[in-house]
Assembly symmetry: C2
Amino acid sequence: MFKFNISGRNFIGYNRSSKGDTTFQAKNPSTGEGLITSYYEATLDEVNQAIELAEKAFTGYREKTGQEKASFLEAIAEELAQLEEGLVGLCVQETGLPEGRLKGELGRTMGQLRLFASVLREGSWVDARIDFAVPDRKPSPRPDIRYMQKSLGPVGIFGASNFPLAFSVAGGDTASALAAGCSIVVKAHPSHPGTSELVAMAINEAAKKSNMPDGIFSMLHGVSNTVGEAIVQHPLIKAIGFTGSFKGGKALYDKAVRRKEPIPVYAEMGSVNPIFILSNALKEQYKTIAKGLSDSVQMGVGQFCTNPGITIVPNINETSLFKEELNNCISNSESATMLSASIQEGYETGLKRLKSNEIITSLSKGEQKEGHNQGVPEILSVSAKDFLSENTLEEEVFGPSTLLVHAQDGEEMLKIAKSLHGHLTATIHGTEEDLQANVDLLKILERKVGRLLINGFPTGVEVCHSMVHGGPFPATTDSRMTSVGTAAITRFTRPICFQNFPDVLLPDELKDGNPLKILRMENGKYMKAD
Amino acid sequence: MFKFNISGRNFIGYNRSSKGDTTFQAKNPSTGEGLITSYYEATLDEVNQAIELAEKAFTGYREKTGQEKASFLEAIAEELAQLEEGLVGLCVQETGLPEGRLKGELGRTMGQLRLFASVLREGSWVDARIDFAVPDRKPSPRPDIRYMQKSLGPVGIFGASNFPLAFSVAGGDTASALAAGCSIVVKAHPSHPGTSELVAMAINEAAKKSNMPDGIFSMLHGVSNTVGEAIVQHPLIKAIGFTGSFKGGKALYDKAVRRKEPIPVYAEMGSVNPIFILSNALKEQYKTIAKGLSDSVQMGVGQFCTNPGITIVPNINETSLFKEELNNCISNSESATMLSASIQEGYETGLKRLKSNEIITSLSKGEQKEGHNQGVPEILSVSAKDFLSENTLEEEVFGPSTLLVHAQDGEEMLKIAKSLHGHLTATIHGTEEDLQANVDLLKILERKVGRLLINGFPTGVEVCHSMVHGGPFPATTDSRMTSVGTAAITRFTRPICFQNFPDVLLPDELKDGNPLKILRMENGKYMKAD
């Protein structure tokens, strides 16, 4: 294990830099106190340096083999594992999240890197396609054409506040971009700069040990928007990964599409993840569903992109039993520390805004504990009719609450489903009978989200090959992609085809004889070398 | 074969409509005369009607099986085949293109539809992925998650002027979007409205015979930008396909990204497709290369997106022999009719702009024939130094010309390669020795284009599985995609995942037992049913 001193400086490749005059400190959200280290906001010069170095490093990194990139990702996981104790301790101070949760998140972060490494080792993810030449085709010969995905260029990545490890400096966007073969410049989230610095040290250590070119990874601090905007607007940056608020993500998107050369922005901006509960399921399972919903709403103090912010319930006798059960769960719950004062204020303001509307009533509330930045679980209620007439109720209130929407009948449920904009997930609770009778509802929801669940809860996003953590706008700025799971890698690639190339100049993925033994499409057929 | 009368009306699903007061006529570019039929520019009401009907039809069309969609695409090809004589005859009048070329293009259009149909019949294109549940995983069970690509929604498609069949009403964008499972609203190009109407009739006929829902296809006429802008800005439209000028494509992109819900725009806006000729190749092959270049420049009167607009030559003795040969070819060539007066004027203006710059000299010119809208082949010349100091020389001049750029040495060639913005293609002519010595040049060009060719010419875009007809901005607005070849289908899809779904509610592609026998990724391994 390497020793660490937190320097508060920016990482420009393997070097540290602190040229600016502006510094900031993180706050411990549990105590409200400032933490001791000062962090240097990057200057525009430093931003440019990091990006120019990323461009220089890109040329070499792009040509690394899948095995080399895989070893590098695995080395990052290894370095993170060695940091565990100190890293989790510091992260608890900066985020107020419990140690157990952060240990789990660190495990997820390492597992993610290793899963992506396994995809690189297997190698078929590049979508290799070959159409062999047909020299004697009439009226004109068919040329030899070979296709694969290759990396886009240097990528700008924005760390998220709510997952200080799994969606931050070594998180999903980093794993994806590095796996794709892109160099990266990470803007650390200012609410956990020390955690970010430790993770950056781990990445740099792994990069050195793996003989990676200086500059494939840089990390810049910044509290103001200046650093982030400069990254998005730099002509050498070719894509952006972001997880955070709608306001933040949309602002980056708007800048990126107005560049002289527009670039893709993968902004995952959260959503309210509607849950629809159908009649028979509610009859048979109201206790279990109420308990599950209460747990899901409170998970991570409601600070998950997949937090179920609205729950649509039918109008049957058992609805009141369900509500009673849910209210019991919530009334017996306690507040917990949120990630920062601004997030806690946002939650309170959001609730106040809802409750100031006379169509909304508060059904139950958890216990307000002593302490700073407490987020108190709360259940609100509205009629479907009022919900449909008020188009602001679908806005995310980031925190441990859900709004129960009371539908008179199936028709009103369908109306709500149709009225929804894009979300990350939608969930249906239903018996077999319910589901058969509500295929229309399923089909409508399919068009609104990236992930559709039955009889589950949306919190808990599995990192796997089949995950879609994405969805139509405003959940993300690009519904064609996912930000979790191995399909996220191709966010940072584009296809290139090689026509009439001598074998020796082709990438190994496309050479005759398939030396990497990957799955390829050859003349339209999927083929794998023996 | 069904009989046809050209009505000049818009197609709103299976109905014809002509509510507007504005009409226009096509012109025969060979005679400069107006053709007899009047076409009705669609009103905004008609645009809305077509799109609302497309949305209605989408729900049903999205659920069609791959086999059903394949039969539909094949039926379109069949209807087009039956139209051949009348269609090609009318198209010759509207475009001035020779009959042989248009017969070939019709064959390409039908072949494209059939190739896409074969991909649908095979079925694996949906990228099915399954991670099976692991109920006893610790600390928490792994849910069952299944992933596939599904259609985006109604798509707006803009017909191109330069390929009145293959990139127009039943062209690549149409084949892609219909294959993906999207309903479409096509804006017909006003320079060949009769051709468009005949093709629309063929699509409608095929749709009826295939029992497709009314509204999966509509076609609207328009000369002004109003119709196109209304399509891009309609909230029910979920993606745009476009082939045409930079000005036109970028304007649509700018509107689409400023919508309340931004949508993807696949605008293929052309490029100048640089050709680099290396020393030994020039020494050994100067005659063949000169002849090939002359042919490529003149193909389709230079009205191809892949026309080689700049050619970089080395500074060796044989360069003058090459130029002599090229000048001979061009001097012995003849002008030909361009697609329209405005395209011909654009070509002349572009050439004038170049030649008014004293750094540019004209080396040779073809013979100006009698007749309207003649595009005369021409070779221009500039030094690499001057080329590098003047950043407007990389702009496309749409027509049969190329600008020879004289590089002093390999270093200057690299400088030019580095200075290039995005193009559809780049080509290198080189012997084995040349290529080995110029790997740097290859690597630089790889970042600039979608297709890289060795010892060939970029004109002639093969429709196959491995084609990339795309490239970095400004060649297109989305380098992650291709507009030719079967990989173009996923431009109009997004991934969706299904968590914990009962088998009966899953799409067939994701059901247990793999009933469609497609290739799937199961727990990270590629598997195909026996």
